[in-house]
Amino acid sequence: MIYVENKDLVIPGQILADDEYYSGRGTFKENGKVCSSLMGLVSLRNKKLRVIPLKSKYVPKKGDVVIGKISDVRFSMWNVDINSPYSGILPAFEVFGREKKELNKVYDIGDVLFLRVVDVDEIKKAKLGLKGRGMGKFKGGIIVDIAPTKVPRLIGKKGSMINMIKDKTNCKIVVGQNGLVWVKGDKDMEQLTKNIIHLIEAEAHTSGLTNKIKNKLYLAIDGELPPEEAEEEQDFVLEKPKLQDFKEELEQEERAKHEAKEIKEKGDKPNIAEVIEELKRKNKSKKDNGLSYGDNSNNSFILNNK
């Protein structure tokens, strides 16, 4: 027996269903009943009940990409504020290996970085790293703060929402899973983008939001509504967009490297340039049909990762 429907708004302690349903995130079982532990929206899939919170704090998870601010420079690491109850640490060797450099000349207090959570220990201390595409320090731009649970909504299905905003405002946008968004572009456009992002956050639980935002954007920039398009209604899916992590991309890179090595070892000595060209093509096609975190092709903040 179930007492709620999909996408219903529930509050903590509310009884959701009887024993035959499974208790997922945001719920708990007590006396044979599944109850909600959060204020949020019900998500029901295959008899598994979850509650997606309206508000929450970011808890670091291994593999996440986050935006953080350097809060302290220590002897061999930086302390990073990642908009969470737990601060992150960026060890010096993650940035420049065994080399010895003065840390505050590389990143200083107040610098904003795009990072990956390398590891989280049992007391939730997050170890951060810079391995991955587009990781490194941001130059200029503004930071917009939204609830981490609204991040998937901001990105949209396969990046539909974020790409639309990027195209229309000509801003570079990078979204961290900790709910921080970096925006860089024209000063006015930055502000407009910020307002749009806050609007998405406030209305994240409404349906047909992409179209609504589209209209708003066209009105604000062109002064007229977009041409009518028979577009299917976007379903409200609060799932983590698959392309948010770079794992696949990284793996592919790794594989390609491996292949290149193998060919080399065979002694055929193929044209390396050819291989690289092929790789580039592969990567490009990959990027074209997927969401990339920020438009990496022309970003100024890319650091050269050895």
Binding site: L9, I11, P12, G13, G26, S37, K55, K57, V59, I123
Partner: protein, 232 residues
């Protein structure tokens, strides 16, 4: 005989004072609530879970909650000397104790939740009203909870057991029993007793206060639902 008894302010023995609850009133706090309970006006702000620099308070296996109950100097008829006193430190402690059983902080080890309860205007029963408002603010902050804790008092005035004592009844009455419960299971998280009651009267008072709690609980839920359905 019960139903004929009318109290000083015209209420029946089991009647609550008018209540108004609003969730999410403060911009900068993670969660907040405003509550009017008769003549009481209470504002609650919740911050967290957040990192705390008071390392000795943090626990490695779970999050901790800290409460501060504070009365504004202008909240009572005679000006109250600002700052914490014996009464407010006691209420701070019992509020934290009353809320703690409902919180599920296992997923936030080494973190701290701060609850600030500010009494802007007081008219009897502020500790129960404070707990009621604080749990609404905690829900608003998105903190996982087993249930929404709710508080309500019962007592004895003119040899009658009555619900929700006002300031006058609190001072002139014979007994005051504030309780806080988790309404789904009916578990009591706070029980204080002040004054003289027979065993029968005590039982009656608890039952009455429980009933009152359930009524207030409905209003809490309504307030939370209202806050987020207007945005829809």
């Amino acid at each position: 005989m019960m139903s004929e008894f009318i109290r000083k302010d015209g209420r029946k023995y089991d009647e609550l004072r008018p209540i108004k609850i609003e969730a999410g009133v403060l911009e900068r706090a993670d969660g907040s609530a405003y509550l009017e309970f008769g003549g009481n006006k209470i504002l609650v702000a919740v911050y967290g879970p957040r990192e705390s620099y008071i390392r000795r308070l943090l626990k490695p296996n779970t999050g901790v909650i800290r409460c501060r109950y504070n009365m504004a100097p202008f909240s009572v008829d005679d000006r109250k000397r600002p700052g914490p006193d014996r009464r407010s430190s006691e209420i701070s402690k019992i509020t934290a104790d009353a809320l703690r059983p409902a919180l599920m902080l296992e997923n936030y080890p080494r973190s701290m939740i701060d609850v600030y309860i500010e009494v802007i205007e007081a008219e009897g029963g502020t500790r129960c009203a404070g707990i009621t408002a604080a749990s609404v603010a905690l829900v608003d902050a998105g903190i996982p909870m087993k249930d929404i804790v709710v508080g309500c008092a019962a007592g004895k005035v003119d040899d009658e057991v009555v619900l929700d004592l006002s300031e006058y009844e609190d001072k002139e009455g014979q007994a005051d029993i504030p309780i806080a419960i988790m309404p789904r299971t009916g578990e009591i998280t706070l029980l204080q007793s002040d004054g003289d009651l027979t065993e029968e009267e005590f039982q009656k008072a608890i039952d009455l206060a429980m009933e009152g709690c359930l009524k207030v609980s409905e209003l809490q839920k309504e307030a939370l639902m209202k806050k987020y359905s207007t945005e829809q």
